[in-house]
Amino acid sequence: MEYNILDSIDLNDSTIYKSFTDRYFSKRYILNIDGIKNNDIMLMFHSNRITLLCLAPSHFFFKRPDNYSLNFTVGEVDRLSNLVKGKGKKGGQMLTPKSVICKVQWSDGTSFNIPCCMKGTLIEINENLVKHPELLRQEPDSDGFIAIMLSSIAISEATKKELLNHEEYLKRVNSSL
């Protein structure tokens, strides 16, 4: 072939091997939410103000090997029935930083909530978590994301600035060990 695809990129350049989420998102962290140790959330911001809600790797959830189930009904609100219409995403559930997206219930009956940590509109719940709750544990920073949210540029930028970036996060987590 005239323009061989193998010659078109530098295979020794490590940046081409970045994962999908590392390629397109910048990660931000909120630690010890509600004063609960290691109640840690990771938000992944796309440059287009789409944000993914994920558990941070330091979340206490990952230290516990027990079975769990996920519940997306929060009080009166069923997160799974969220529907957005049109380009403007009309009808999406409104979110504030405290809004709970999902409840994780352990086999012993105890549970904890996952809050969304920012103001915005709920676009999509990761439906795959319903059938495959194990994804939350196995691939928390990719296929096990919890929800997709959208906010204004202003809020998105402000939240991004306010939260810990990846380096700051690593420093904080390592010093608290």
């Binding site: 323009y3 695809i5 287009n48 995403k89």
Partner: protein, 550 residues
């Protein structure tokens, strides 16, 4: 009011003789029967036809007429908007309406050379009042009448003109007022009247029937002049009168089309010259189009200039590389070129995707070209484009408006073949040895080459959610898409890499299909492989659209 001055102004804007008379306000039917003779009195004797000569140098318009004829139908003539020379409306006479569709087309074409004298299409009536465009219409009417064999000795005729003529009349009227503030726009003789007095009279001789008013004659001949740029041209009215069209859009059930004579008249009511200009209104009758396919060799080149917050993200674009030599031929400055050249492509690839093979079909629309470029110049332009090292265009040929429609339609129907360089990132569930380094096995390749999930010719039926990268500006939808063909092969000396070639249906997001986009696209290539996989590089290998049209 100085008739001569208005004549000169209109002529300078590009009006035909008959239209000049209309703007002057001449209501004498005889003047329109031979308008070219009638206007001689407005020409200065010492500089005869100075404007004529200048215009003839723009040897651009080969008036390509594509004629379609719609079927005849019987209907009752409700000519309530005709405040014309008819006396009053009669009751329901069983009248016969003949519709003749006559397309006004003004493509600049180089070949084949036309024996016909070349005429510049009038910027106001778009050729409706220009005798050189009538012959075909006469013939169509005659043929139809002969076929039908109506014995009636009289006829009435009615014109359905392109709606864009309303916009153009407004622009010209405002131009006159700009020059002569005391000019009264109401003097304008309606297009349909001038047409009846000229076309109608000549048609009468041609079909050997007496022209009469619609209220009297039971035979009504409706001539429908189509202008293919009509709706496109009216788009600017949405900027001039946004509320009006927003209202219409909201009441879509009530208004089937956005642009009707009524809505356009409403939109134009309060329009000013500056508001129309700001919206991009132009008096242009001639558009030339050149086409080919472009090959894009760079993974760092957008199709159109990429500007974010007023700053350039990347220094160049396919569009700019293609425009540069064309603008040079016309000696246009950058701003001028940007305004007068338009790139119309069959879709676009991402910045980091190359487009190889025969390239991506595209056309360049040249608005108001001062002349036709020669074959030599076009060849030279291709050479210059290819010298960029980033884009290759092998040849540029002239096309028509109809070809362009094919290009645009192609966007919804064409399939594309992609070549993707992929990496296997984890052991597959079929791998027996999970301790050795991850490598693509011949079994993996076989699995991809034989995988299907349908009983039809389609290899893989997939569903794709709107990709996250465009989700902020597009609705969230789950679409059914198709992978039509799929083959994979190993990459020598790179055990983790493999190359796939996939032909996909129009609208398939191929990057997302490869990596699965957080399982929002399924089944993805990684699902077929049953291992984590990602995309390292992507090329469009072919855009399956016959282009340029033969």
């Amino acid at each position: 009011m100085e008739h001569k001055a208005i004549y000169k102004l209109c002529k300078g804007l590009g009006c035909c003789e008959a239209c000049c008379l209309r703007y002057i306000g001449i209501k004498n039917p005889n003047a329109y029967e031979n308008s070219i003779n009638f206007v001689t009195k407005y020409n200065d004797e010492n500089e005869p036809n100075s404007i004529e000569i200048k215009n003839n140098n723009e040897s651009t318009t080969d008036n390509e007429k594509n004629t379609t004829m719609s079927s005849t139908k019987s209907e009752t003539n409700k000519s309530n908007e005709n405040n014309d020379n008819s006396i009053e409306s009669t009751e329901n006479v069983d009248e016969t309406t003949i519709e003749v569709n006559n397309e006004v087309e003004s493509n600049g074409r180089t070949s084949p050379p036309s024996k016909k004298r070349k005429v510049n299409i009038c910027v106001s009536c778009l050729g409706v009042l220009q005798e050189d465009n009538w012959q075909e219409g006469f013939q169509m009417v005659k043929e139809l009448l002969d076929k039908k064999g109506y014995e009636c000795t009289t006829f009435a005729c009615a014109l359905s003109a392109p709606i864009a003529t309303l916009l153009r009349e407004k622009i010209i009227t405002l131009n006159i007022v700009d020059e002569f503030p005391q000019y009264d726009a109401k003097v304008l003789t309606p297009l349909k009247e001038a047409w009846k007095w000229s076309f109608g009279v000549k048609l009468s001789a041609y079909i050997n029937k007496t022209l009469d008013s619609g209220a009297v004659s039971p035979l009504l001949v409706t001539v429908n002049m189509d202008y293919t740029d009509d709706l496109q041209e009216l788009e600017i009215l949405k900027l001039v009168s946004p509320q009006l069209f927003e209202e219409r859009r909201k009441q879509r059930r009530r208004f089937v089309t956005e642009f009707t004579r009524r809505s356009v008249e409403q939109a134009l009511e309060k329009a000013t010259l500056s508001s129309l200009k700001a919206a991009g209104a132009q008096l242009v009758a001639v558009r030339a189009r050149g086409v080919c396919g472009y090959i894009k060799l760079s993974r760092n080149l957008p199709q159109s200039p990429w500007i974010l917050d007023g700053k350039r993200v990347l220094p160049s674009s396919v569009q700019e590389i293609i425009f540069a030599p064309l603008a040079k031929c016309y000696k246009w400055e950058e701003a001028d070129a940007e305004r007068r050249l338009k790139l119309i492509a069959a879709g676009r690839e991402d910045v980091d995707v190359r487009c190889l093979g025969d390239g991506r079909p595209f056309a360049v629309e040249i608005t108001d070209p001062t002349r036709q470029l020669t074959d030599e110049e076009l060849k030279e332009a291709c050479k210059e484009i290819s010298n960029s090292g980033q884009v290759i265009v092998k040849r540029i040929v002239p096309i028509t408006r109809e070809d362009l429609i094919q290009l645009k339609n192609g966007e919804e129907t064409k399939s594309k073949t992609y070549e993707a360089l992929c990496i296997k990132l984890s052991h597959s569930k079929y791998d027996t040895d999970h301790t050795s380094p991850v490598r693509v096995t011949p079994e993996d390749i076989d699995r991809i080459n034989s995988y299907t999930n349908t009983d039809t010719d389609v290899r893989i039926a997939i569903t794709q959610k709107t990709p996250i990268r465009v989700l902020h500006r597009r609705p969230l939808l789950t679409r059914n898409r198709e992978i039509l063909e799929l083959t994979a092969e190993l990459v020598p000396e790179r055990p983790q890499l493999f190359v796939v070639r996939a032909r996909t249906a129009a609208g398939t997001y191929v990057k997302e299909w490869v990596h699965g986009e957080l399982r929002r696209s399924a089944p993805a290539l990684r699902d077929v492989l049953a291992a984590r996989a990602d995309l390292l590089a992507l090329d469009v290998a072919a855009v399956h659209l016959a282009w340029p049209p033969s």
